[in-house]
Symmetry: C2
Subunit: 464 residues, 2 copies
């Protein structure tokens, strides 16, 4: 931004000239870039067009700029090898930091990725265009409901009841842009000093808690989910759990444990945050009803999202608040603007209204079941006795445990075969000595699953 000093003895056109010349020399204005039109520049600076023109013409005559009638003034190439003052190099360093480039692998098995072959592109596009059209005649210009579009919440409440047994009115639903954002709101609603979390567990939410300066109490996870005896001893004011498919180990919390957890929540007066992130992907048994559906005392806040079923980049999640927390939300968040673009909300609403949502959920569940079965079978058959495949039967990832290779060794070997698999270290708040790697198959196309599995087998079975 050019700042003019009208008191200065230096003429205005010279001030403009020098400023632009400096920017060209330092490289801030790159070769080929078009300058602001004289009129616009003049408006911005509050001077006459001719004043700007004078500066531009001066730069032209000195070879910094090139003028194209009817088009604009463009920066010409300047050989900077001649001048090399401190200022130049310092400025260059400040302004031209390069774009960070991350290494590419043939297959990236990052958890959470989601292959676009399954995305209902045509239907979604149609719904989005309808939403845009309807938005232009109205709600584009207003801040919507702070809880999210009422109709969308209505559809969601309906769906959640049928699919997950979640009983709620649309009033209890809050739309948000991701589990982490909603978890942040929950931190501010519940205000616990200590929150129990699963160990290992979802690091995304752990960081949210820590950033809200809430002490986290990692509770080990057993075959039945979080260890309830340990939880009882912790006496935390909240607990974050993933009962339908424990992240990342994959255990399902049995009904007895669920009842016991709710009982404990009532006894010790804490809130349960139920993250149902993965629940639609169950490939063996039928779906387990949510914790929330068993809750009679209003101790459960339920979290869900469309990231896994549709696409993570849509950034649309929802939570069901028990009445007490909803009251606090209405009190403390009434002046908040909902963070989800109305276009996204409307698109999903239209998508759900025409029945495409449930259709898609069914379809993608099947697609992932096929991928899962293929992937699991290949790995189980192919890996020798020194390996264990964990977390089968649900979700979008598998875990490989080795009794002789370290995590680091496994990752490097897989990467050498072009497959990027991941350490599970970050899911352990207190660290772990187990040799685990995580392979998410959500982002791999159905046709490539076998190849990816083969490469992993090749990587892990080589002796060296």
């Amino acid at each position: 931004m050019i700042i003019l000093d009208r008191e200065s003895a230096k003429p205005l056109y010279l001030q403009i000239y020098q400023h632009i010349r400096d920017e060209i020399i330092t490289g801030e204005l790159e070769e080929g870039r078009r300058l602001s039109a004289t009129r616009r520049q003049a408006d911005n600076l509050g001077v006459s067009r001719n004043t700007v023109e004078q500066a531009y013409l001066q730069l032209c005559s000195e070879g910094y700029l090139e003028n194209r009638r009817g088009s604009g003034y463009y920066v010409k190439h300047v050989d900077m090898s001649l001048l090399d003052s401190d200022t130049v190099s310092r400025k260059l360093q400040a302004f031209h930091r390069e774009r960070p480039e991350n290494r590419k692998f043939l297959y990236d098995m990052k958890y959470g990725n989601c292959h676009t072959e399954n995305f209902p592109a045509r239907k979604w596009r149609r719904a989005m265009e309808a939403a845009l059209t309807e938005a232009v005649y109205g709600k584009l210009g207003v801040y919507g409901d702070n809880c999210g579009d009422w109709e969308l919440r209505s559809y969601l409440a309906d769906y959640l009841d049928r699919a997950r047994g979640v009983k709620c009115s649309p009033d209890q639903l809050v739309i948000g842009s991701g589990t982490q954002q909603l978890a942040g709101i929950l931190c501010q609603l519940i205000r616990p000093e200590r929150c129990a979390i699963e160990e290992p567990g979802y690091d995304g939410v752990r960081h949210v808690l820590e950033n809200h300066r809430i002490e986290t109490a990692p509770i080990p996870v057993g075959a039945g989910g979080i260890d309830l005896a340990a939880l009882r001893r912790e006496k935390a004011q909240a607990v974050y759990v993933t009962p339908s498919h424990q992240f990342p180990l994959g255990e399902v919390m049995p009904i007895q444990n669920r009842m016991e957890l709710l009982q404990l929540a009532e006894e010790q007066d804490f809130y349960v945050i139920e993250d149902d992130y993965d629940s639609i992907f169950r490939y063996t048994a039928k779906a387990v009803p949510s914790l929330q559906s068993l809750d009679r005392k209003g101790r459960v806040a339920y979290l869900g999202s469309v990231s896994k079923a549709l696409a993570p980049s849509l950034r649309l999640a929802y939570m069901v608040l028990p009445p007490e927390l909803k009251n606090r939300y209405d009190m403390w968040f009434s002046e908040y603007h909902n963070t989800v673009p109305s276009l996204m909300q409307d698109t999903l609403r239209i998508f759900m209204a025409e029945g495409s949502w449930e259709q898609h959920v069914r379809k993608i569940c099947l697609a992932n079941k096929r991928k899962h079965d293929l992937f699991a079978a290949k790995l189980e058959r192919g890996l020798g006795p020194g390996f264990q495949v964990r977390g089968k039967g649900a979700g979008l990832h598998l875990i490989i445990e080795s009794d002789h290779l370290t995590t680091e060794e496994m990752i490097v070997k897989c990467q050498q075969q072009g497959v990027n698999v991941y350490s599970m270290e970050k899911y352990f708040a207190m660290g772990s000595s187990r040799n685990l790697i995580m392979a998410g198959f959500g982002g791999i196309g159905a046709a490539r699953i076998e190849d990816a599995a083969d490469r992993i087998l090749r990587a892990l079975k080589t002796d060296d």
Copy 2:
């Protein structure tokens, strides 16, 4: 969700039958709704299709359902006037809370609204379609950069430099879904115990601070913006200001005060949060460079958004972090997912890349200047000596102060004329006895401004 008890003596088909019948009676399943197909329902419940069919047929024979071959089972009309048990009424109450209806006015002059006549619908749509097409071939399925799309940040850095004098590399930029969300992140980065705010000031951010349990210290606003002497005494660890156009009073912080504020920030070692929410709408003088542009010590975090220029419902904002805070962001927020849908980011990127952004900014500024001039002139000429019009020359709202009518009286009178104007009470953390109303003209079409102004004049000038 239907939960079956396989241990029970009650037959499975009866359990299903009763559950659905209850839902129909309570109204949870509305007339005309299609039930899940028997195959799907059977899969979900883990029973045979015949079991489900048995239940459905029973319901048909009792008149609850209607079966259409090749289509499905549909809920028939049920006369509920006959039955009226407690259960029914309780359930009805719980599930069918009515959609909240808010009263409509001819003109809603809520601050922040934004008329869609100014929205570049065609260009935006085109950019969005391009973004969707490009997304389907890739990044739809992945969680993007936690700071936001790199290219978009690059364009933004460029624009901010030219338009607002903000000097930053794309690395310092963080994309977020609204000023409040970004302010929340700043709370967690700066972690102040006390934060000074303007009095009156933007309540949205005040609530964010309070919800992060940060004590707020309201500092009065004078002709030159926030009162620096009072701020000095406060000894807060952060201050939130709107220097380019104080919200809501409209004062511009002069250059001396800006320097002094930065000086003070250095002396007392606090951070300045600069919210540049409105800066493009200056109708008289040329734009004032931002505080950030004067900052040499890395004490300023700069906030901006596209809500006012494009549309509030897009939910896209950005902040420029000084290096120290950016380091903390990289440390503490590395595992966060960005909350802005990549589709929105890509759309804006494409929109900016083709130059439409700056073109639009200029256009909308002119459009709003016309509206502002018309509105201000009408009010100034029409209102009698007992009224003052404040906040002219910039922004998207005007303030009317009365020396004989209370705020409440003014609002009611205007509403009677079909114009909804707003109290400014919520902007005063400590309350105010002044008689002020706020009229935002952003959401009113250019052709309607005069009528809206006339109605306000009629409302306020009637004697009764």
